[in-house]
Symmetry: D4
Subunit: 248 residues, 8 copies
Amino acid sequence: MSEEQLRSLLEQVQSGAVEIDEALGRMRHLPFEDLGFAKIDHHRALRHGMPEVVFAKGKTPEQVALIAERLLMNSRNILVTRADASTAELVTKLTPQAEYFPLSGAIRVWEDRTIRGKGKIAVVCAGTSDIPVAEEAQVTAEVMGNEVDVVHDIGVAGIHRLMSNRERLCSARVVVVCAGMEGALPSAVGGLVACPVIAVPTSVGYGASFHGLAALLGMLNSCASNVTVVNIDNGFGAGYVASLINRG
Amino acid sequence: MSEEQLRSLLEQVQSGAVEIDEALGRMRHLPFEDLGFAKIDHHRALRHGMPEVVFAKGKTPEQVALIAERLLMNSRNILVTRADASTAELVTKLTPQAEYFPLSGAIRVWEDRTIRGKGKIAVVCAGTSDIPVAEEAQVTAEVMGNEVDVVHDIGVAGIHRLMSNRERLCSARVVVVCAGMEGALPSAVGGLVACPVIAVPTSVGYGASFHGLAALLGMLNSCASNVTVVNIDNGFGAGYVASLINRG
Amino acid sequence: MSEEQLRSLLEQVQSGAVEIDEALGRMRHLPFEDLGFAKIDHHRALRHGMPEVVFAKGKTPEQVALIAERLLMNSRNILVTRADASTAELVTKLTPQAEYFPLSGAIRVWEDRTIRGKGKIAVVCAGTSDIPVAEEAQVTAEVMGNEVDVVHDIGVAGIHRLMSNRERLCSARVVVVCAGMEGALPSAVGGLVACPVIAVPTSVGYGASFHGLAALLGMLNSCASNVTVVNIDNGFGAGYVASLINRG
Amino acid sequence: MSEEQLRSLLEQVQSGAVEIDEALGRMRHLPFEDLGFAKIDHHRALRHGMPEVVFAKGKTPEQVALIAERLLMNSRNILVTRADASTAELVTKLTPQAEYFPLSGAIRVWEDRTIRGKGKIAVVCAGTSDIPVAEEAQVTAEVMGNEVDVVHDIGVAGIHRLMSNRERLCSARVVVVCAGMEGALPSAVGGLVACPVIAVPTSVGYGASFHGLAALLGMLNSCASNVTVVNIDNGFGAGYVASLINRG
Amino acid sequence: MSEEQLRSLLEQVQSGAVEIDEALGRMRHLPFEDLGFAKIDHHRALRHGMPEVVFAKGKTPEQVALIAERLLMNSRNILVTRADASTAELVTKLTPQAEYFPLSGAIRVWEDRTIRGKGKIAVVCAGTSDIPVAEEAQVTAEVMGNEVDVVHDIGVAGIHRLMSNRERLCSARVVVVCAGMEGALPSAVGGLVACPVIAVPTSVGYGASFHGLAALLGMLNSCASNVTVVNIDNGFGAGYVASLINRG
Amino acid sequence: MSEEQLRSLLEQVQSGAVEIDEALGRMRHLPFEDLGFAKIDHHRALRHGMPEVVFAKGKTPEQVALIAERLLMNSRNILVTRADASTAELVTKLTPQAEYFPLSGAIRVWEDRTIRGKGKIAVVCAGTSDIPVAEEAQVTAEVMGNEVDVVHDIGVAGIHRLMSNRERLCSARVVVVCAGMEGALPSAVGGLVACPVIAVPTSVGYGASFHGLAALLGMLNSCASNVTVVNIDNGFGAGYVASLINRG
Amino acid sequence: MSEEQLRSLLEQVQSGAVEIDEALGRMRHLPFEDLGFAKIDHHRALRHGMPEVVFAKGKTPEQVALIAERLLMNSRNILVTRADASTAELVTKLTPQAEYFPLSGAIRVWEDRTIRGKGKIAVVCAGTSDIPVAEEAQVTAEVMGNEVDVVHDIGVAGIHRLMSNRERLCSARVVVVCAGMEGALPSAVGGLVACPVIAVPTSVGYGASFHGLAALLGMLNSCASNVTVVNIDNGFGAGYVASLINRG
Amino acid sequence: MSEEQLRSLLEQVQSGAVEIDEALGRMRHLPFEDLGFAKIDHHRALRHGMPEVVFAKGKTPEQVALIAERLLMNSRNILVTRADASTAELVTKLTPQAEYFPLSGAIRVWEDRTIRGKGKIAVVCAGTSDIPVAEEAQVTAEVMGNEVDVVHDIGVAGIHRLMSNRERLCSARVVVVCAGMEGALPSAVGGLVACPVIAVPTSVGYGASFHGLAALLGMLNSCASNVTVVNIDNGFGAGYVASLINRG
């Protein structure tokens, strides 16, 4: 039942052409989400007040470009994640504002650079191999309207590097920590800072890392109470939740 | 090296009794956390600005009671988690303010009921068997200074129950969702609300639930972008992070 | 918004006290499932046209008895699954019609014995240790209004036993097959019959059966195309779906 | 022993040329399935009253084409699953009726379009990446003689999309639900409809989806009682069982 | 159809009372295993020419005793495995010949001590904790009519112990090797002897032995070509197959 | 210490040139396997009385060819397993007797065709995709001096095919059964025959077959007592052990 | 063949009573480890120059006491691990020197307190629940002749506690680190010290710690290069290897 | 705060320009690792007194070459691990001293060949396929200043090969054992030698070896007390720790 249909029904009630019991009967099975004018009809992304996001993996370059083109009609900021080079080539042709980040596969159009977050988001990675995941988190958090402070290569096997970045970490409102292998960094960071830490296990490692499983389990068992976890390599999710927290 | 020792060294520098190079030499190995007056010396819990928490599992009732007694000298609020009945008996004798929650095993002393959170925290559970975990989250969030709205038994197999609680969920600043079995509820909630969702897999289920593994994996793979995950049955961790977010 | 509130709103529209645009605005956030008079408000079980079912595990005997008591006010048939002896004691006191099945832990009140299924449901088990799970399937299918034919102990290591029961199996409209250990029976049955086979892995076995995992994986990989699978030991689910199919 | 041999033996008994004990002795080891005229000799597919199906994976294009060619002599409908492009090229040359579905790799010859199912089968997928699996289910169910209603992209993180398709789902006699990642959709659908739901976990996802394991476990632990599960990505099996149920 | 029924049918054919086509029609669906006089009707155990075996786990003491009693009417040798003390008490009352082996839970009646094996079976265990499993293999192999040579405690971390038993091992026709923890002994034994080695992983160990999984995987990956494997703790199966090989 | 050295030492003892204590001292650390004349010095393959076998995987074509060349100097029969086409090209140039089996990757030189086994070995596979593994078992058993009877495509979902091959299976002294997917065939075969069954799980399947794990677990949990198991896809090992049993 | 037998044989060679060929023949199968006088005959423990150790788990109290009694005849130091209270009661009666450590279940007789290690061994644990495992390591290292420095409760979520113990850790020659949950401490310690670190995962934790698996995987993937790992809860093994390193 | 800043502050204290309380205040948050002159600032590798090591995997050839170039300015010895051919081409151009080991992917510059180890390190591998991992261990141990004795192909299925190398193994101060498949060799070696054994599981194998998991679990459960374990294929880690032990 569309808004028009509902309006017409109400008009019939108003005019007496339809009895109230009859109207109630018709509305009984009214599908909630077919009201048309309800907020619930808007895209999930819009409901969250976030830019549109396209997950490119499993879509053809043409499909992604088409979606991106349509989104760009209404949005000044869009984010495409996990895009390969050929997808990037098509999408970056759509607008000169589109930047491609080859490490993470992100494509970003970031025209509206209003800062919506109340503080800074720190994005930390344990080793240089974790940078692609950290980049996805950073790019996401920025396009969502946050100031992001990126700290690279401060793994737990060199604690002094962590300690020397302590003040930067402590001045953030949320910290995203990306780490593969043993995934120990979120616990160490979690013990230093007083804000929420979002841990992103990465698939960096070999052998008994089992493609990120070791890091994932480590983070889920963190002895620091302020740590929550997202899926392996899910830099986007971490950047997204960090944005929600920072805006809150 | 305590503050006193450092002060004394500086006084000797001031008076000329110790040369600068000599002073530098002594300070070179100065253990950072022995400065005494540094914030870092305070308990982790205090650094987070949170009440003290004792994890009772693996400690004897006597040990827990001793720790609780000592904490109660300085703190008006304390939380003991995973306590059995005999531990509860000892701890609740320490002060008439202590409440015991047998489902979750939490013991709480909650004298300072100042609200520090900026909004409400919703704690949701999918089925009645998930209530103990939800209770741990609720008790934690409350003692951390939050208003908590608890919604029971709104699993995805009865979506209308979820939909009818939509406004309550949407009015929260953070939602904690506890679910066992297939662990699908956080995705459904995450799609409805615009705030961060903290998913707690519970060990409720049998057979291929593998003691919460099915729910855990489901939540980590959530198609809703605003979901992060904590360990199986970790209601405390979820309540803790929700508190940090709500205060932020 | 209850039915009363909606009726009142429509009356105000009818009387002109509320404008149509105003009414539309109020209805915009109307929670679908709060219409009250909608079918969706009814219990899931009722929507499926099935008797009420209570999963007793994780509930106290008193809780189960209370729920059963309330259900018995409206229903002539109810089913409690996974009840222990003390729960059974309480529930069987409620009505002389209640039977307790100690092997499977089912309690059944089966006053309305109308047959609703169009044919027979065969419930098969591979070994005597699988009987508790088969019993749960049988009890469920019967109380849902089906004629059930139970065939015990026809594991694949004695194919002649399977073959000698071929006609019984072939005359069923659905076959439920319960098997532990290697879980091979559903494939063998699936190859003999032309109807849907619902496979129930059981936790019977030891060592590398890993509490039913071996049987579960075997059944999911069945080379017979007419096999679907439910959770380990989930006799109830198998009996339930078999009933739906048999009624269809 | 063929029918001819058996007839000949009986004739010898009739004529007195062979004693009864002698005849009994010869028949003692009579292989049941060598009677020739017994139904059991027919292909499994025929016993199920279904078109012939060829699983192309692991066979060379030439092998598949040869089998297809032979089957086409007797059958107006055949289905090849998991065929790559080079296999498709060979098979589609055999008859102009052959259609190739590149997403799922199905090849279908569908000359006899008689509807044998009593109602509709709904095939639902959670996200666009699940479409190949859904397509395999759809193509299978159609060639088996069913009207199929396909509903795309109604994942649980946008419940309104699910709700707005509620009537379509409720009007089906069986629903096939394909979902990767957390695999939550079958539970939500199962709660809405009163018919059997066949859940197909897909290998869509990354990280802790473990190639469909997360979705598989989620579906096996579904809190909806009307859900059964097939192997990861097994759209064919789901379409096949759905057909059996719909014909029943 | 029993032998009597078939004889009667043949007599009717002989006498002309039944036409051949009619007889063929009746025999068409003749269940193979209902011939009655066919070998296939005999118990699996008998078909293997082995004593009857009862797996006691999951049966009540009374059930086991009843089965044992019935078997003892026809058999001079029987074997019960995995029996607890109360089952043993009942069964050993049946006949003074019954011996109970508490370590492994075997009960044996071994009246017919004919040696049927052509040579010796060696049963080896790596450590003293593996003895219960080895005992089950030994008891089984003996009651099946074999001479058994038991060698204890020759784990790979003391290779000289293995080497000093080399001649005993080499003089066996089959070697059963029971080992927990890393499960390395079958490979070492397999390299020394020229006969088949049956490896039995045991659940002995802790931590990353995962209840026998480590030993099981080790044995399946043995670099010795003459090793096959049975289920964790399955001493019975190993003794059984060893008997078949030794008789062959 | 070679036989010559030991002889020389004994001669010196005999002649009095070396004292007994001195001789004992020299022999004290005598490496057992350096006696030279001991059987233990012979290659493992020779100790088992088997032809030489080369596992080609992980070796370069040149390495395999070199080893094969050297072996061919002393042996009339050799077997290379898991060789790719380029390795086969090199090895088959060495002698016109070399046959290459591309499905399994085996290369065989089989000049000495003496039959050493006492009976037949049956090699069975469940589906056509299991043929490569069955071929490896067959080629191995043949070159080890056995008559092999190969039976293809008798999976459990078509039990009549299995039943119609019952006599062939029953006339073997050992049966090797190769099966992927649910791995149920060894149990069914094990129930029919009275000889040892060697089960080979194959990696055939997809999704929850987990590359052969489902079949492996199924076989380890076989309810037939005469089944032992080798590694996934290990046709060679099965053929090897079958040969040992058949010669025994 | 014992030393005496060999000597006698050599004397017969010397005297001419036995021919050299005859002597060679007898010696051919000479079991290496029966020479008697070879070092290889000594117990493994003695070969390592370590006190005798008894693993009590899986042995009866009487068995352990008997072994301990026999060992005490020759040894001034012995170690029993994983003993329960009743075993301890029996063993401590044997000698007043026996100490029982109830947390870890170790029983130690430590009369010879000679220090054999060249430096100190540090034994570190992350949390108080890891103390039983650390105690086993400490008791082992001490009875093996080492000075042990125990540092408790310095988990990575409170890095300052780790840092303030840095000098103690740096002054050790080997560090044993016991940690459960995420198992991150060995990496952090490994980055601080220059000596070998032996990591002991403990089964401390719940949910996704999977009884120590998370800690084990974390430690195996340590980004610190100086870390090796032992089995879950294997404090004994860690203490043992640390002793070997410290003596080296 | 650098050393200069600290010196300047102390000078101000000395001169009276800064009050002691003011100085204390400034020093309060002094980041420990910014003292500049502290040892902790040095690279981890240097702290361990080891040559610099670069893990090439996941870095571009250019990145590795750049790092190597910079390191070569200060170091006479460097090690690059897991380098592919194109990386090797770039790095070996930097200096004629660079050797490339294609099996393991190691690149080594080894100008300073001082022996720092006190004894020999033995590096053992079970089969020829394990050689790449053994090579990585060897190359590492050599460049760290150790004499290395490499023993190939002494798997447990040919124990005499192991026994004949016993003296070489016993003369080492540490033994590194690389083995795939069942991973049994470290236990056998551990039983022969009295020094620490570092076990390296390799990913060699197929089927149920699960890419090294079987070997890893085997080694963690070793019944030899002197065995510790590193990650699958981690030859570098084993060589590194062996070097630390050998220098100790």
